[in-house]
Every structure is written in structure tokens, then in C-alpha cells.
Amino acid sequence: MATDNRPLSPHLQIYKPQLTSVLSITHRGTGVFLTAGAFFLTCWLLALASGPEQFETLQAHISNWYGQCFLYAFVFSLYFHLCNGIRHLFWDVGLGLEIDTAYKTGYAVVAGSIILTLLTLCLATGGVA
């Protein structure tokens, strides 16, 4: 049976972006980005285990503006993926699947991840570079 000339589903570009679909792809995007963060965590731990010089060199990069940009991008991605992940876990047990509830929890995820990121920023500027 030929399977290579079946009709394709319409291209994504013709759909109007909706909160639900945007959050869905952002969940994937943040997941991929956080995997890069996990690999960076390995580098950070290896530098820590190697000695003070290696660690201070890496830490200097993190303290720099570009390092801080990446760091807070990781922090925001983590909170977003965490909040939206909890939303997914509720869906998995069959809760909150109604369209209006899905929108409400969607807005809650966006608000929650922004608030948690700002909270972390406030706590961190209290001492940590």
C-alpha cells in the first residue's frame, strides 16, 4: 500500500495562533532549551569538581550580562515547563480538559511562571551573583 502520497494536514501557518497551541509548542521549546541547561549543569558541576580556578572562570561568564541572560532564560523556562507540566499532569488524569478551563489554567501558567521568575530574581539579587 502506497503511503507517500496521502493528503497532508493543512500547514500550521494558516491557523490563527491560540493561547492553547502557543503554550503547547512553548512547552516543547522550553523542554529542548532546558535539556541544553541540563548539559550546562554537567559543565558547572565538572568545573566545580575540577578546582577553584576552573570554577571561577565559568562563574565569571555566568556573572556577565550574557550569562545572566541565559541564566534567567533557563529560570523562566524551568518555571514555565514546571507550571505547564503540572497542567499536563491534571489533563492526564482527565481534569481541566474543558475549553474554558484550559484557557484559565493557561493564563494561570503564564502568570505563575512570570511571578516565580521575578520572585527568584528578587531573592537572588539579595546575595547571589
Binding site: 516543547r28 570554577f55 529560570v75 524551568l78 492526564d92 551573583a129
Partner: protein
């Protein structure tokens, strides 16, 4: 000619005894990562400074070492399961797909193990 019965074809991938394993493992690691990732971020934020000495002292505590190891295991397992689905969805062509999947599995094991060894070295070192 296929030896599979029409019923087996209609059911898809045949015996589905372990078909849910990936799904369950992803949820299980997700649940574990809720407290573990919050603990990790909070530990870093609450550190007095980001000097080598402070970070080493943090990992010298058995509690921190255990939680950090659990975090590393759950994190790399979860990341690897998630990226596997992304590769399966977006990468076209059998060769590219399988090559990417093998690379993903090898790299994840390598990075996860390297992180764990680093923690153990710090924890067991004086």
C-alpha cells in the same frame, strides 16, 4: 507477504505489553522533578555567595548530595524521554532519525554520568 494477521495490523504495533512504559516513565520523572527542581533553584538562590568554597561545602552535606544525585538522574531521564519524542516527531528520514536517537541516548548517559561523578568526587573528597 506479511505473516501478520489483519487483526494484528489493525491493532498497530502488535503486543502492547510495554507500550505505556515511555509514557509512565515521563510522568513519573515529571512528578519527581517538581520538588527536586524547586529544591535545586532554591538552594542556589539561598547560597550566601557563589564562591568555590561555598558551593563545595553545599555538596559536602549528605542531604544535598543525595538530592542533587536524584535531581540529575530524574532530569536526564526526563530530558532524554522528551527529546526522543521531539526527534521522532520532527526529524525526517529513517537514517537521520535513528542516528539522532542513538546520539541522544549516548550523550544523555554521558552527561548524566559525568554530572553524577562530579557530585560524588566533591562529596567524597575532603
Amino acid at each position: 507477504m506479511s505473516l501478520r494477521s489483519p487483526l494484528a495490523k489493525a491493532r498497530g504495533l502488535g503486543s502492547a505489553k510495554s507500550g505505556t512504559h515511555h509514557w509512565i516513565a515521563q510522568r513519573l520523572t515529571a512528578i519527581a522533578l517538581i520538588p527536586l527542581s524547586l529544591w535545586f533553584v532554591l538552594s542556589l538562590v539561598c547560597m550566601a555567595d557563589m564562591s568555590h568554597k561555598t558551593a563545595i561545602e553545599w555538596i559536602h552535606s549528605p542531604m544535598a548530595a543525595v538530592f542533587l544525585l536524584l535531581f540529575i538522574i530524574a532530569l536526564f531521564h526526563h530530558a532524554q524521554l522528551g527529546l526522543q519524542v521531539v526527534i521522532e516527531d520532527y526529524i525526517d528520514g529513517k537514517v537521520m532519525k535513528i542516528t539522532s536517537l542513538i546520539l541522544l541516548k549516548f550523550l544523555s548517559f554521558f552527561a548524566g554520568l559525568a554530572a553524577a561523578i562530579a557530585v560524588l568526587k566533591i562529596y567524597l573528597g575532603s
